[in-house]
Subunit: 368 residues, 2 copies
C-alpha cells in the first residue's frame, strides 16, 4: 500500500474570510492506495505531478446557495483544482500509462479519475452559457510537455490562466495596434499573459500591481507603463497616462472606477476577477462612482469565465500559444512550492497576494 495524502475541505470559511490551514483546509495523510490493484471500473489511475492554486477555487468554498460561476466543494471531501497528472494504469480507450493530462483533478497524490465523462470535447453547441461551469474543463491528454517546456507552464501560459487571457483578448478585448490597454493585477498569472498578448498586438500597455517587485516583473514582460497602485492611485496614474481604449480587469473596485473615467468612447472592458473586493464583506466594498459613464461613453463591459469563450478560440490557442512560447515570445515566471503538503499555503498565498513574489505559484507534488 502507498500513502495517498490529500487536501480536505473541512469547513466553509465565512464569506470574504481567507481560509485557514487546520480549520478550513486540512492536510490529510490517513489514506493509502493499492496502486497495483485498486479497481478502475473502466476508468484510469493517475499520479499527481503539478497543482495550480487559482482564485476560482475560493469561489468553490462558498455556501452552495450563493449563485456564482462554479459548483461548490463538499465539506469533508477533498478539494478540486487544476493540475497535471500522469496515467499509471488505464482501462479506458484513449488514455494509456505515461500519458500526461491537464485539467480539473482531485488534490491528492493518486486518483482513480471520476471526471472522465465530463465534457471533453470543445463543441460550441454543448457549451451554451449557463449550462456548464468550470467543471467542464475535464482532464485532457496533452503532449509530454517536458520535452517542450516545464510542467509548471500548466499553471501559467499553457494552463487556465494563459487560456483565460488568450480567449478574453481574442473574444472581448480585440486589441488593435496603437490602442492603449490597461490591465489590473498585471503580475498575476492571467495578467502577465494579458500584458504579453497585448504587446504582440502592438498595443500600449498600462499595468498595475501591488509591489515594486511585481512592477519590475511587468516591465520585464513588456508593459510600457507598469505602476504600483499602493504608491500612486489608479485614478491619478490613468489621468496622467490615459486615456485607455481597453481594460482588462482582475481587481474591480478602485481599478474599475478609474478605468471607467479614463476609457474612451466605445471602449471595451473584460471583467475577469474581483481581487479588490474578494476579501472584504460587501458592505465594506469600495463603491463605484463612475457607473454613469457606461452610457455617456457607450462602454461595453463583459464579465466572463474561460469556458464562455473556449469553443470559439481553443483551436487558435493551441495553434499559436505553444509556438509563441517556444519562440520566447510568451514567457512566465513560476514560484514552486514543494510537495502536496504545501498546497494549502500556496492556495492561501494566491488569494492574499501576501507573498509579494512576482509570477505564478505552483505546487510540485511529484517530479515524474
Amino acid at each position: 500500500m502507498t500513502s495517498n495524502p490529500r487536501i480536505v475541505f473541512a469547513k466553509r470559511p465565512a464569506p470574504h474570510e481567507l481560509p485557514k490551514i487546520g480549520e478550513h483546509l486540512i492536510f490529510d495523510e490517513s489514506r493509502t492506495i493499492d496502486l497495483e490493484n485498486v479497481p478502475l471500473n473502466g476508468g484510469f489511475l493517475t499520479k499527481t505531478l503539478i497543482l495550480s492554486p487559482e482564485p476560482a477555487m475560493r469561489e468553490r468554498m462558498r455556501d452552495p446557495s450563493i449563485p456564482s460561476y462554479t459548483t461548490t466543494f463538499n465539506v469533508g471531501g477533498p478539494i478540486l483544482g487544476f493540475g497535471v497528472v500522469v496515467v499509471l494504469r488505464s482501462e479506458k480507450d484513449g488514455f494509456k500509462p505515461g500519458d500526461y493530462l491537464y485539467g480539473l483533478t482531485v488534490w491528492e497524490a493518486y486518483t482513480v479519475q471520476p471526471y472522465i465523462d465530463g465534457r471533453v470535447n470543445f463543441k460550441a453547441e454543448e457549451w451554451s452559457p449557463g449550462t456548464f461551469d468550470m467543471d467542464s474543463l475535464a482532464l485532457q491528454v496533452v503532449p509530454n510537455p517536458n520535452g517542450l517546456y516545464p510542467l509548471s507552464k500548466y499553471t501559467s501560459i499553457m494552463g487556465t490562466p494563459g487560456l483565460t487571457a488568450f480567449v478574453g483578448m481574442e473574444g472581448i478585448i480585440d486589441g488593435k495596434e496603437g490602442e492603449t490597454l490597461f490591465v489590473s493585477s498585471g503580475a498575476s498569472a492571467v495578467g502577465s499573459m494579458v500584458i504579453q498578448l497585448a504587446k504582440l498586438k502592438g498595443m500600449k500597455v498600462i499595468a498595475s500591481a501591488g509591489s515594486d517587485a511585481k512592477v519590475e516583473y511587468m516591465r520585464s514582460l513588456g508593459a510600457d507603463l507598469p505602476f504600483n497602485y499602493k504608491k500612486v492611485s489608479y485614478a491619478e496614474f490613468l489621468k496622467k497616462h490615459g486615456p485607455i481604449n481597453k481594460f482588462w480587469d482582475n481587481v474591480g473596485a478602485e481599478a474599475l472606477d478609474a478605468a471607467l473615467e479614463s476609457i474612451t468612447s466605445y471602449g471595451k472592458m473584460a471583467i475577469c476577477g474581483t481581487s479588490g473586493t474578494d476579501a472584504t464583506p460587501p458592505n465594506e466594498h469600495y463603491r463605484l462612482k463612475n457607473a454613469y459613464l457606461i452610457m455617456k461613453k457607450c462602454i461595453n463591459i463583459r464579465g466572463f469565465i474561460v469556458p464562455d469563450l473556449i469553443p470559439q478560440f481553443i483551436g487558435k490557442f493551441f495553434e499559436t500559444v505553444p509556438a509563441l512560447m517556444a519562440q520566447g515570445k510568451l514567457r512566465s515566471e513560476e514560484t514552486e512550492y514543494d510537495g502536496i503538503e504545501s498546497a494549502p499555503q500556496a492556495f492561501i498565498d494566491t488569494l492574499s497576494s501576501g507573498h509579494q513574489k512576482a509570477g505564478t505559484l505552483v505546487v510540485v507534488v511529484a517530479r515524474d
Copy 2:
C-alpha cells in the same frame, strides 16, 4: 416677410444644473424670413410642425471639452433637436414641396436646411463606432403620416424613442419568451416602447417609475409588475419579484445596483440613460455597491445610443413597427405643448420629470 421665431442657446448651464428659461434658453422672436425668396443654395426650405424634447439635448449643452455621445450646441446659436418638418420649396432632388421629413432640425419655425449632406444612408460601413454622433440622424423623407397616425407619434413610437427601444431590444436585450425583463423609467418615451416590445416577445415585465399615474400608464401598456420606486425601493421590489434575466436601464444609480443584484448569471443589460444621476454633481451620485457581481455572474453590460445599432436594425424597424402600431399592438400617449414658445418648458419638463404626466411630451409648432 414672415416671423421666424427660434430657441436660442444663450449660456451653458453648469454641469448637472437644470437649464432655465431666460438664462440658458431664450425664445427669440427677432427674426424674419422671406419664404418666397430666401436663397436655397441647392437645398430646401422647411416649415417646422412638431418638435420632440429629448434628454440627449441636455448632453449638447455641456462644455465641449467633456467627452460624450453628442456634439455640443454653440452659445448664441439656435438649438437643434428632433422634429417633423414639411418642405415648402426645394432645389434638391428627392425633396419636393409637401414632403414630410423626420430627423434633426433647428428649433425654429422655418429653416433653410443645412443638414442635407449628413449621413442619410444607413450603411453599416459608414457608421463604425466613434465616427459619428446623433447628428448622423439627418432629416429623412417619411410617408405623409397624418393618413396613418398623428404626427406626434414621431416623438414616441416612430421617432428616436421608439427606434432606440426597438434597436436596443433587438441588438442587446434579445428577449426570449418566459424571461423576465426589468425596465427603469418605464413610463418614459423609450421605456413605454420597451415594455410593449418585451410583452410582444412573451417576456414578463417589471417596470419602475416615479408616480402612481405613471405606474397606471405602465400597467395599461402591459407591464406585469409596475411599481413606484418612491414608495418601494428598487432593491426591495426586485428581491421580492425577481430574479430578472434582462435589464433595460434609463436611470442608473439605485436602479442599476438593484438590477446587478437581481439579475441571473449571463444576464444582459442595455444602458440607455442615466436620469438618476443627470441632475446631481458626480460627487453626490449614488455609488454602486454591486459591481463585483459583473464578474461573478458573467453579466454583459452595454452602454449604447441609437446610431450604434441603426445599420443592423433600421430595416426591421420600418417593416414591423408601423404595422404593429396600425394593429394597435404598439401605442403611446403624448402630452402636447402648444407653439414653439413652449418648447423650452417642454424640454425642461422632459429633463426634470416634474410634470408627473404619463406619456411623452411633444411640442406642436404648427398644424400643417
